[in-house]
């Protein structure tokens, strides 16, 4: 059977991307606010409860007074899942994305944090380029995920290549050690993305995609759902707590995203996303 081709003018994607950047920058997801209220109530360490309440107040002020949630308005990663039957017309997709980023960061007074070259470090002044990842999927659907992340938590990124024969316990211990060592630096309570398997780069990308699975969702595979529970429980016994001032809420949620791997390899990548988890997803 011959499938029909869906034509999308890339120009129509600009405004949706601008809106997603705006929402992510100023409005903490309501599910996260709900979760932070619960965490604040569970804290027995006074500074921990106070810190969680400050983060809630921060979210309220950001939303009500249009002040960005964080002065580090992030690099922009865009994850695109495009159906194999989509035919794009108009400007090349990367140019449209960068145009949207440039417009949004200027229009909403967001900080421009991207330098054109990693060593010569001249600021591009537009927060572009965005970092775009494209996956071709069956069908004709188009899903765009816009993900903003600051440099402080990005700098705590972790990758370790385990032995394929290492038991899960060894991996858990190592993750707990890495998160405790990062301590206050990535701005806990963290949304911890764990990429397991794939090649090293795939594990890393999966650790970013993982945190956008949905607040409050469980992994579809019970084996990994239990792994997530174990990690959450262990990590919240480290004592790091909100912003490292002590307490229970070191990690708000753990999201694992696994992938097939080579017989000789077992990569594990950690995305220690700060408490200010900023993303939006749209299906077009």
């Amino acid at each position: 059977m011959r499938e029909s081709v869906r034509t999308i003018d890339t120009g129509t994607l600009k405004e949706p991307i601008i809106s997603m950047i705006h929402e992510a920058s100023f409005t903490l997801l309501p599910e996260i606010e709900g979760m932070f209220s619960t965490l604040a109530a569970q804290e027995t360490v006074e500074k921990a409860a106070m810190t969680m309440n400050i983060l809630l107040e921060n979210a309220a002020l950001a939303r009500q007074e249009s002040i960005p949630l964080c002065q580090d308005c992030g690099s922009v990663s865009v994850f695109i899942e495009a159906g194999h039957n989509i035919f794009f017309t108009g400007e090349p997709l990367p140019a449209v994305i960068d145009d949207a980023v440039k417009t949004a960061y200027e229009r909403f007074c967001l900080r421009k944090s991207i330098v054109a070259d990693p060593l010569r470090r001249a600021n591009t002044g537009t927060n572009t380029p965005a970092f775009t990842h494209l996956d071709i999927v069956p069908g004709d659907r188009l899903k765009i995920s816009v993900y903003l992340k600051g440099g402080g938590s990005e700098n705590m990124t972790y990758l370790k290549m385990f032995r394929p024969t290492d038991p899960v316990d060894v991996i858990v211990d190592d993750i707990v050690r890495a998160v405790a060592a990062a301590g206050p630096n990535p701005c806990p309570p963290l949304f911890l993305g764990v990429g397991i398997g794939g090649t090293a780069d795939v594990a890393m990308i999966n650790s970013r995609k993982a945190v956008m699975r949905g607040i409050g969702t469980r992994h579809a595979d019970p084996f990994y759902a239990e792994f997530e529970d174990v990690l959450l429980e262990r990590l919240n016994r480290t004592g790091v707590g909100p912003l490292g001032f002590g307490g229970k809420s070191t990690v708000a949620a753990v999201f694992i995203r696994e992938a097939p791997a080579h017989i000789a390899t077992l990569p594990v990548a950690l995305n220690m996303n700060c408490h200010s988890l900023r993303y939006r997803i749209v299906d077009i």
Partner: protein
Amino acid sequence: MNVWKKLELPAGRDTLRGMRCGDMYLLSGVLYTARDKAHQRIAEMAARGERPPVELKDRFIYFVGPSPAPPGRVIGAAGPTTSSRMDPFTAVMLEQGVSGFIGKGKRSAETRDLLRRNGAVYFSSFGGAGAYLSKRIITAQVVAFDDLGPEAIFRLEVSDFPVIVVNDTLGGDLYEQSLQQ
């Protein structure tokens, strides 16, 4: 136990001696911002025997790169950035007379030792609370390195700006304490 104490800025090192890690302070007065590139420039100037562009004696340095001020506002979001990136510059900033540093996250063993030996204090503010903290800033002006954009040196007048002592003059460390508890 956890009560907010008030501190007026500028504040010399002699006034910081009694502070202990975990103490919470509301700062009011003037402080200066600096992050990576401003520190690098001050260090380069010091190496040439030049004075920094602003007098830093008894001053607090706030590690921050604010987001742009929207129309009608003093400043955008203005929470602390990660302090460890400024560790290589602790010695030179202390030589300029800086008494307090505000950021977030851990300091190197070398920085902690320098703070202790010089009687200076490192505070954390609230990382990722950029909107909340912007409300505690009354005035903001760029006073040096204008070309650096968000990395310029700003003179900030703050009112009840909340910070917690992380590294005190006795070598105490709040983050290590919280891990041990």
